[in-house]
Amino acid sequence: MDKILEVNNVSKKYKNFDLKDISFSLDKGYIMGFIGPNGAGKTTTIKLIMNLINRDSGFIKIFSKDNIKNEKDVKDKIGFVYDQSYYFEDMNLKDNTKIISPFYSKWNQKKFEYLIKKFGLEMKFKVKDLSKGMKMKFSLAVALSHEAELLIMDEPTSGLDPVFRSEILDILREYIQNENRSVLFSTHIITDLEKTADYITLINKGKLLFSDEKDLIIEKYSVIKGSLEILDNGLEKKFVGIKKHSYGFEGLTDSSNFMRKKFGDSIIIDKPSLEDIMLYMVGEKHETINI
């Protein structure tokens, strides 16, 4: 009932890429960060959610409705922000809006004009003259002007400077002050999610690695640093990922209590960042590359 988005065992096969059995869900009122390295399948998943490409199997429900059977209804309440501009480049914002707004049953022109002004844009600007950041703000203004309950953003912050990204995060926090709204937000700039996201879904090479509360994920894992002498095969298995260098090792583990008991002060136990967790989980066993 409280689920705003459900992705169930969704698969999509391409020649060089396979999205396999992706399942996760998002509750009303929360922000989910959708992360993974380039080519992991984030955009493919989002395109499947938006029904921009055909899925091979599985099903997707948005607002408890099938996203294909009820495509029109569902999209009416989704604010979609894509990493590429899909507007008419030669037209100004006003004319672009005239084309876009009739697609939405609850288009709010007043709100749109307010946001355009707030974001420092003008209706007479042509899309092709906008900077990357301004285009993003225009997209965001459109997404926020039709009473959308679900905001889906594909890499909204990539290529933007930290000040700009922080503004966007503020807007998202403001957006979910209404507890019926949710945000799905894909990014590879993980620091953006460290503070804002409630849930994190990580995919790699077309497979889901986890989808859980951000705080629980961070509490579950620790980064352990120590000397190579203590590292044997049995111990290495207790690490999700490990990096060795000439003077010691560093690894991600979910057995920090065991490590603390066994090695005490001879190791350092640190709280991981989300970025640490992603790097260790998607990283192959690290070997030095000779260049």
Binding site: Y30, R173, T196, D198, Y199, D215, I218
Partner: protein, 121 residues
């Protein structure tokens, strides 16, 4: 109400919030019946995730410090006798700690303090 969050602290953020709110309730900075900000408002203000503030409030509710009234908001709960006693003890302890610090500065021994207390009590 004051809440300051450290990102480098080993304490999880939700625990930092519960500790600080508890302390302010015990000290009487926030009093019974006072309304607390909603989880969403607090998350926005502190620039943290909603689920973190939600967890903090759930802990506080479980420990009887706050009460959630659906549709109305979150309020500081009436404090039990035990809690009030604990709260007062805490104040006395703080004052004693002050006395000890002051005494150490003047090289007054524990025995001397105890004697002073006995005379005054």
């Amino acid at each position: 109400m004051k809440i300051v969050i450290s990102n480098s602290s080993k304490e999880p953020i939700y625990e930092q919030i519960t500790m600080q709110i508890k302390e302010q309730i015990i000290k009487g900075v926030v009093i019974e019946g006072e309304m607390l900000p909603s989880i969403r408002k607090l998350a926005k203000e502190l620039q943290i995730s909603v689920i973190t503030t939600k967890r903090a409030y759930e802990e506080l509710e479980k420990d009887g410090f706050i009460r959630v009234i659906p549709g109305k908001g979150t309020f500081v709960a009436p404090q039990s006798k035990d809690l009030l006693r604990e709260k007062r003890l805490k104040i006395i302890e703080d004052k004693l700690a002050e006395i000890i610090d002051e005494s150490k500065l003047l090289d007054i021994s524990l025995e001397e303090i105890i004697n002073m207390l006995k005379l005054l009590y």
